[in-house]
Symmetry: C2
Subunit: 342 residues, 2 copies
């Protein structure tokens, strides 16, 4: 009934504690026959290492770093805040968690920053940058030092990270498509799709998802080509002004990325936000306010607290060689309106 200990294993296997320890911790100087007996005993008794006791004995500390894009990004700010909030709670028990901001727009700058990580004093990294060949190589280097790497928010499929923590952006796009289809169920018109840049995987995937749903179920709605902002306020104003006047049948705007503050400014100026259906991503001070003002109809959210805690739990599990409780680590695509805002 009670959990077996190493002592039980030793007794069951008919060997000494030392031998059990040698097997369990992959040390040498143990005969294959005895190793087998220990493994069999472990399996038979269902032994699982008491990580707490082990950590206590080793005075273990986990050292994790979040690598996040620098710059005026409200979403990243919320992540940083979530990391800070998680610190001092049970989550970061026995862990030092740092945040490193990198210039994500410049692959070389990213790599240079990653090189400053002291790999000998690190257990895990949660990384949120666009994947480039340089970044991929840098990650391979980090991994080769025995450090666990999880991709955060946008996946790094070619970097073979140990885990991805974030939402499925294709499904997120589909969700927006479905929402727009239902919000505009009997209406005809066009939908403006904007983002900062289509080089980020998230935006590409979201756009695919959107089109897939709308092209199937909502033929009466026409999605316009994606407009890219490149973080340029003037450009935002200019392109939106043009788009609004060029499409008098405009019914909705879908903002796939950041830059919502300026975008909303422009829309207030050139269109009627009460008539337009507007959907954006990520809960920030800007989108929160816009929801309350009913300027945004819905926001697609990945809970940043969950994101951060999940990354930390996953890194920890990897370090402990434990397995991951998938159901808990699944980041959900939340639809937030004014009424279920939190």
């Amino acid at each position: 009934m009670v959990k077996p200990t190493v002592h039980d294993i030793a007794r069951e296997a008919g060997v000494s504690l030392s031998t059990v320890d040698r097997v369990l911790n992959g040390r040498k100087d143990v005969r294959p026959k005895n190793a087998e007996r220990v493994k069999a005993a472990v399996k038979k008794l269902g032994y699982v290492r008491d990580t707490n006791a082990a950590n206590l004995a080793m005075q273990r500390r986990y050292r994790f770093v979040f690598v996040l894009p620098d710059g005026p990004n409200h979403f990243v700010e919320t992540i940083v805040a979530a990391v800070a909030e998680a610190s001092g709670t049970q989550i970061v028990d026995r862990a030092n968690v740092d945040v490193m901001l990198v210039n994500a727009a410049d692959p070389h700058a990213v790599v240079d920053s990653l090189k400053t990580l002291n790999l000998s004093e690190l257990d895990g990294v949660a990384i949120m940058v666009p994947e480039t060949p340089q970044v991929r190589d840098a990650i391979a280097h980090i991994k080769s030092a025995g450090i666990y790497v999880v991709a955060l928010v946008s996946d790094l499929p070619n970097s073979k990270c140990h885990h991805f923590v974030g939402i499925d952006n294709f499904s997120a796009g589909k969700t927006v498509g479905a929402l727009l289809g239902k919000f505009l169920r009997n209406e005809t018109g066009s939908i403006l799709v904007v983002t900062n840049s289509m080089v980020a995987r998230d935006s590409i995937e979201r756009r695919y998802g959107l089109d897939e749903v709308l092209s199937q179920g909502s033929r009466h709605l026409k999605t316009l080509p994606t407009i890219e902002f490149y973080d340029d306020p003037d450009r935002i104003h200019e392109t939106l002004k043009h788009a609004v006047s060029a499409h008098p049948d405009l019914k909705a705007v879908y903002s796939m990325g950041s830059g919502n503050a300026v975008m909303l400014d422009a829309l207030r100026e050139y269109a009627d936000l009460n008539e337009l259906v507007v959907i954006a991503h990520d809960l920030t001070s800007v989108t929160r306010q816009a929801l309350l003002e009913a300027e945004l109809d819905a926001v697609i959210v990945q809970n940043v607290g969950h994101l951060v805690r999940s990354a930390l739990r996953v890194l920890r599990a990897k370090c402990d060689g434990a397995d991951i409780f998938e159901a808990q680590e699944q980041i959900r695509i939340e639809i937030i309106m004014r009424e279920n805002l939190y």
Copy 2:
């Protein structure tokens, strides 16, 4: 930099380890003056007890019980499954978690069941039953035995539980109202509201929320009086048949409670599910299937895995005298459509 231990406290306070222990664990035989010095040292050094080490020393086991309504309820089944799934993970580390099913419809049966709990071998209870005076008294009795009690899914405001784990049902109702308003933004008609019973707090609160939003923002939509099913299939069929024919302008159905399987059967028979907007609560095999078939437009979900883990974490924190990480324990009102189904 490193966490202070009891030894540091003893040194700082100029007393022995024994005295520190006496103060920390509220034992007697310690002069107020010394107690003060210890407390001051604790505060000065920022000492926090290492729960893991303490649990190890005490060979502590937490014993928790989930008290859930019996009967053919798909939602409860998902909770039971979530409890089972959480078992064997880090969450239930050092904890025994049991499930007790009670006949929630009968307050006396509930109380009788609660009386069978062995209070001397219990640390915490998560309870999901309607609040009645009898239940309230039974909970008071449990609490007086030093056992922590959290309300699950529906709050027990008069029982003064140590915590409530669940969504704000008033906001959930408002969310549905907002969704219906947006789904039917330019349409006029009536909305059918159904539930199993309006004695459950959840349904009452959801209905209030719904009406508040619709009466303010969507005057063109008329909400009909709530129909109660009382778990009676025949009644469901009969009342729905009548409602559909009596309201040719019926545009939407909002199912606030359980019994969705039979309800959908009836609607298939008497109405056109493709034309009707239908929103229900809770992700079960039934609602999941109906979402995939596009018979349901949206489901309002409280993630049961989160619910269960949250209850366990909260109970544990209470037992440890630790404080609760509110951001993590906030159960979100999720809007699930076919596209963001998980």
